[in-house]
Each structure stands twice: as C-alpha cells, then as structure tokens.
Assembly symmetry: C2
C-alpha cells in the first residue's frame, strides 16, 4: 500500500466533517459534492470511492459526524444544569455560526424531506439531545424535554431569519426565558 493503513479512513472522516459544516451553512440541496471535496482538499471524482451517493453521505453525516456543539451542552449541563444548557444553546455565537451549531436548527425542514434512513439517523441524534435535557429537569418528563428542545430550535431559527438585529437578540432572550419556564413548570 502506498498510503498508511489509516489514510483512507482519515480522508473519509475529513469529508464527513467538511460536509457536515457545509450542509449546516448552505443547506443539503444548496451544497454540492464538488464543493465539499474541494473544501476537503480533493477533486470531485474521489467522492465516490468513499460514498455510494450524495444521499448516502447525508445519511452518514447525521449518523456519525462528530458533534462539538453537543459536547459543549453536556459540559454546560454538568456545570449549571438545565438553565446553563438553555443559555448556551441560545448564545449569539450559535445564532451567528449555524455551520458549527445544532443540525436540527440549521436543517430541520430539509431533513423532513429526506429518506427514511436519514430521518432515522436524525431521530437518534434528536433522542440523545432530549435525553440530555431530560436528565437535567427538576422532575424528569420526556414530553417536557421534547418541548424544550423544540422551543430552542424554533427560537434559534427565528433569531436567524428575522431582519432586525435588535429583534433577533430579543428572540434569543425569549427562548431562554421560555426554556427556563418550561423546565420549572
């Protein structure tokens, strides 16, 4: 072999990370295979030695792309409970950098249009997030944890969509308040 044993796996992982970032930035339909490969330092042809198709890549992104944002939320929860999780999620930095943030907030409606396999992978990530929230509720309540996640996603999307910066900041705060109310009620 003319490459290290780990070389192909390394490349594959790199493509997954780049794809995950680009998808969150420009959408699933808005991101092309050639762009992903160029950003990973390769040419388009190599893509299909790693993945069967673009749809297969999308599925794998939801299954396995490493999730720095999620780790930060785990740490916030350990340090400051549910309120810290909510505050961390609703940070201006998160609003301003969807490419490093929550896939549900960046891609929600697009996931709904994709294959069952992709939606199943998304569901697993969703459940992990609900479990994290639930584990920090004063009295655990799956339904409530789901709703809190929904509130975070919705408020974050609105903060990103609205054209008035002051209103956008206010939406982040509205999301924080509501998240805390829901956690306590």
């Amino acid at each position: 072999m003319r490459y290290q044993k780990t070389h192909k796996d390394d490349t594959r992982r790199r493509v997954l990370e780049v794809a995950s970032r680009n998808f969150r930035q420009n959408g699933l339909v808005g991101t092309g295979v050639a762009t992903i490969m160029a950003d990973a330092g390769l040419t388009n042809g190599a893509f299909f030695t790693h993945f069967r198709s673009k749809e297969a890549l999308i599925e794998e992104v939801f299954e396995s792309a490493s999730d720095i944002g999620y780790q930060g939320l785990v740490e916030a929860g350990t340090a400051g409970g549910i309120e810290a999780i909510v505050r961390r999620y609703m940070r201006p930095e998160h609003r301003d950098h969807p490419e490093r943030g929550c896939p549900a907030a960046a891609l929600g409606p697009e996931v709904a249009r994709h294959s069952p396999a992709t939606r199943a992978a998304f569901t697993r990530k969703f459940q992990r997030m609900v479990d994290l929230i639930n584990s920090h509720l004063p009295s655990p309540n799956e339904s409530r944890a789901q709703a809190i996640f929904g509130t975070l996603i919705g408020a974050m999307q609105l903060a990103r969509s609205v054209s008035d910066p002051a209103l956008s900041d206010q939406l982040l705060n509205s999301g924080i308040e509501a998240g805390i109310v829901l956690a306590r009620a």
Copy 2:
C-alpha cells in the same frame, strides 16, 4: 387588448399561490421556476414577464401570498383563545401538509440564508403571528408570544422530521402542552 384587463394580474396571483405551495413543499432551492410555471398552466418563458427573477418571486411570496392557514388561526383564537390557536397549529393535518401550512415551519432555515428584503418580508409575517398570539394571552407579553411561536415551529419541524410515527404524534402533544404552559405562566 386581447385579454381582460384583470387577466395579467390574475395570472400573476396564480403564479404566486402555486409558488408559495411548491416552496413550502420542496423548499426554496428545491423548487424550479419551470415547475412552478407548469403547475400554473404556463411555460417557463412567461415567468419573466411577471417577475424580475426567482429571488424577486421569493420575496413577493413572503410579502403577499394569501394565507389560509393564518386565517384559520385567527378564527380559532376568536372561538377558543390561545389554547385553540395552539391546538389548531399542532394538528396532524398541519404536520402532514406543509404545502398548505406555516411558512416559518416549512422554510425557516432557508429564509435565514436569503436576501435582506426577503427576510424583512418574513419578519412582517412573523410579527403578525406574534401579535395574534399576544392578543390572546391572559396577560399580554411580547416576549412570551415570540417564544410560543418558536415552540410551535420547533415542535412542528421535529414532528415532521422524526421517523417514528408514534414519536411524531407525541411531539405534537408535547408542543400543545408546552404552548399552554407558556401562555399561562
């Protein structure tokens, strides 16, 4: 003139309605001009006698497409207050027919990627919805109304994205419960 005076305006309105439906169904990037025109019973060339560009169409859709879903929520609010609004929004029919439903739930993250003019038009529709919710709160509270709207959007998107139908139904209920809690707290 070989057409009625109203003819061109009628066509224009029809294209806007078809576009609005198709956008919510397949996304802004996922919907082509030729498809919209074919669904409106015309050929692609006619598009540019009505709109400067696809981006201009998108902007106008957010500005002016008639909103049957919104009217239904107004009536629900009049009849049954905030709880009826929340229940109506979170209906399974809404989840299963994004093409007839809330643009924010169907297109949120895509709007965030579009032109300032499009986002400004979106902001106006957003504000109208927040006002409706706020007018039915026991004690009016803009921030709370914003958060309730966020909760509805987020919960609806999750219900549409998740692959397990039972979980999807549960998410609709979680959204209803949370909406009511937020309205009362």
